[in-house]
C-alpha cells in the first residue's frame, strides 16, 4: 500500500484527528514531530502553499488539510469507516465538520489569544453560541453523528477541538463546556475521551497546559 508518514505537532488538534483516524483504522504510520519554529525542509516541500501541519505523506505523495486527509484515508482504507456510507448522512457529517472548522476552531483560537479578562469573557460567550448550535441541532436526530455505534469524523473534529478547550479551561481557570448549559455535548465529550482508541491517544493535559502557557506568552509578547 506504500508507507504512511504523518507530519504534525503533538499539541495540534488537527494533527490529533488524523492520528485518531489512522489508529482507528489500524494503519501503520511513522509519526514525524515537527517544530513550529524550525519546520523541516520536507514539510515546506510537501505543503508549500500553507507550510502547516498536519501533512500526510503516502508513498511519497503529500496530502494537506486534516479533513482532506481523513477523506483520503477513509477511501483507501475502508475498514472502520469514518464517514457515513449513505450520501445524505455523509453530507450531514461534512456539514458539521465544516461547522467545527469554521466556527469552533476560530472561536477557540480567539479565546486562546485573548489579551485580558474582558476579551476572554466575550470570546467565551461567542463559543457558547456555537456550542448552543451544536447542542440544539446536532443531537436527537435519526442520524446519530455524535454518540452513535461507531466513531465517525464529526466526533474526531469536535473531540479534538474540545480537548483543546479543556486545556484552556485549566489555563484560564474558567468553565467553558458547562454541563448545565450543554448537557448533551458535555456528556458526549466525557464519554468520547474514554473510548478505547481515543483515550490512549490523548495528549497529556499537564504537558499541554505548560506548553500552551508558554506559547501564549510568546505570542502575546510579540504582538
Amino acid at each position: 500500500m506504500g508507507d504512511v508518514k504523518l507530519h504534525g505537532f503533538w499539541y495540534s488538534p488537527f494533527a490529533l484527528r488524523v492520528k485518531w483516524a489512522l489508529e482507528l483504522k489500524g494503519i501503520p504510520y511513522e509519526n514525524i514531530e515537527e517544530d513550529r519554529y524550525n519546520k523541516s525542509p520536507e514539510l515546506l516541500e510537501y505543503n508549500p502553499v500553507f507550510k502547516k501541519v498536519p501533512v500526510l505523506v503516502h508513498a511519497g505523495k503529500p496530502i494537506c488539510e486534516s479533513m482532506l486527509i481523513i477523506e483520503y484515508i477513509d477511501e483507501l482504507w475502508p475498514q472502520n469507516p469514518l464517514l457515513p456510507l449513505h450520501p445524505y448522512h455523509k453530507a450531514l457529517a461534512r456539514f458539521w465538520v465544516n461547522y467545527s472548522d469554521e466556527n469552533l476552531s476560530s472561536g477557540v483560537r480567539a479565546l486562546f489569544r485573548s489579551k485580558d479578562v474582558e476579551e476572554r469573557k466575550k470570546n467565551i460567550e461567542k463559543l457558547w453560541e456555537h456550542f448552543r448550535v451544536v447542542e440544539d441541532h446536532c443531537f436527537g436526530k435519526e442520524e446519530k453523528l455524535l454518540g452513535g455505534d461507531t466513531i465517525n469524523v464529526v466526533e474526531l473534529a469536535f473531540g479534538s477541538i474540545i480537548k483543546y478547550v479543556t486545556v484552556l479551561e485549566d489555563m484560564f481557570e474558567v468553565e467553558v463546556l458547562e454541563a448545565q448549559k450543554f448537557p448533551r455535548l458535555y456528556s458526549w465529550f466525557n464519554n468520547f475521551k474514554t473510548e478505547p482508541i481515543i483515550a490512549p491517544n490523548l495528549p497529556d493535559q499537564e504537558k499541554m497546559l505548560a506548553f500552551l502557557k508558554s506559547l501564549r506568552a510568546r505570542l502575546l509578547a510579540s504582538s
Partner: protein, 231 residues
C-alpha cells in the same frame, strides 16, 4: 433514480455559492425546481431547511435538505452516479481537487469582494492581495490540469465550478471596476482556462444577462463605498 426524484434548489441569482450548485446540476443534466430567495426576506422553508446558517444555497432532494455549496456538490456527485463526474475517481486526485476548491473559496472569495467594496489605496492593496493568491493558483493549476487524465476525469469539475462561479462574470467586473482579475499577461494559464470554462454549455445556461450582473455589482459596490464613507 429518475421519475420519482424531486430536486429543489433554494438560491439567489447573484450568489456565487448558489451558482456553484446551479452549474453542477446543469452539468449533470439533473432536472430541478429553482426557488429564488430574497435574502432580506428569507422564506419559511429556507429557515426550516437551514436553521444553522439560514443561507443559500440549500438543495432539497426528496424532502431532505442539504446546506453548504461544497457539501452539496459532493452529495450531487455521489447520488447521481450516471454521466460526467464532478470529482476525479482517483483518491489522490480527489484530494487535490478538494484542496484547490477550498483554496479558491477560502483565499479568493473575500479578497475579491474586498476589491469590489473599496477604492483608492485600499482597493490597490486589495488587488495586490488577490494577485498574490492568483499566483498560487496559477502555479497549482499548472500541475493539477497537466496531470488530469482526460479519459478518467471530466474537464469540468469542482475546481472549475468554484473558479467559474467567482471569476466567470469577468465582463461585469471589467465594466464596473475598470480592471481584470484574471489578467492574461500575469495569469496566462488561468486566463485560457477561464475562457474555455465559460464556453461550457452548463455555464452558458447559468449565466445571467450582462446588464443584470453589472447592475447588481454596481449596487453592491456603491452601497459598500457609501457605508464605509459614512463610518
Amino acid at each position: 433514480m429518475a421519475e420519482q426524484d424531486k430536486v429543489i434548489l433554494h438560491g439567489m441569482w447573484a450568489s456565487p455559492y448558489a451558482k456553484r450548485v446551479e452549474l453542477a446540476l446543469n452539468f449533470k443534466g439533473i432536472p430541478y425546481e429553482y426557488v429564488e430567495e430574497d435574502l432580506r426576506n428569507k422564506s419559511e422553508l429556507l429557515l426550516k431547511y437551514n436553521p444553522v446558517h439560514k443561507k443559500v444555497p440549500v438543495l432539497v432532494h426528496n424532502g431532505k435538505a442539504i446546506a453548504e455549496s461544497m457539501v452539496i456538490l459532493e452529495y450531487i456527485d455521489e447520488t447521481w452516479k450516471d454521466g460526467p463526474k464532478l470529482l476525479p475517481s482517483d483518491s489522490y486526485r480527489r484530494a487535490q481537487a478538494r484542496f484547490w476548491s477550498s483554496f479558491i473559496q477560502d483565499q479568493l472569495m473575500e479578497a475579491s469582494f474586498l476589491v469590489v467594496k473599496t477604492d483608492g489605496e485600499a482597493q490597490q492593496k486589495a488587488v495586490e492581495q488577490v494577485y498574490e493568491k492568483l499566483n498560487v493558483v496559477e502555479d497549482g493549476m499548472k500541475s493539477y490540469l497537466a496531470e488530469r487524465n482526460a479519459s478518467t476525469e471530466s474537464n469540468f469539475g469542482i475546481v472549475e465550478i468554484v473558479f467559474c462561479a467567482l471569476f466567470g462574470p469577468y465582463k461585469a467586473h471589467e465594466e464596473v471596476l475598470g480592471m481584470k482579475f484574471i489578467v492574461p499577461e500575469k495569469f496566462p494559464l488561468l486566463f485560457s482556462w477561464l475562457m474555455a470554462i465559460v464556453e461550457v454549455e452548463a455555464v452558458k445556461k447559468a449565466t445571467p444577462p450582462h446588464e443584470k450582473t453589472v447592475g447588481i455589482l454596481q449596487l453592491f459596490r456603491q452601497s459598500a463605498l457609501k457605508s464605509s464613507a459614512a463610518a
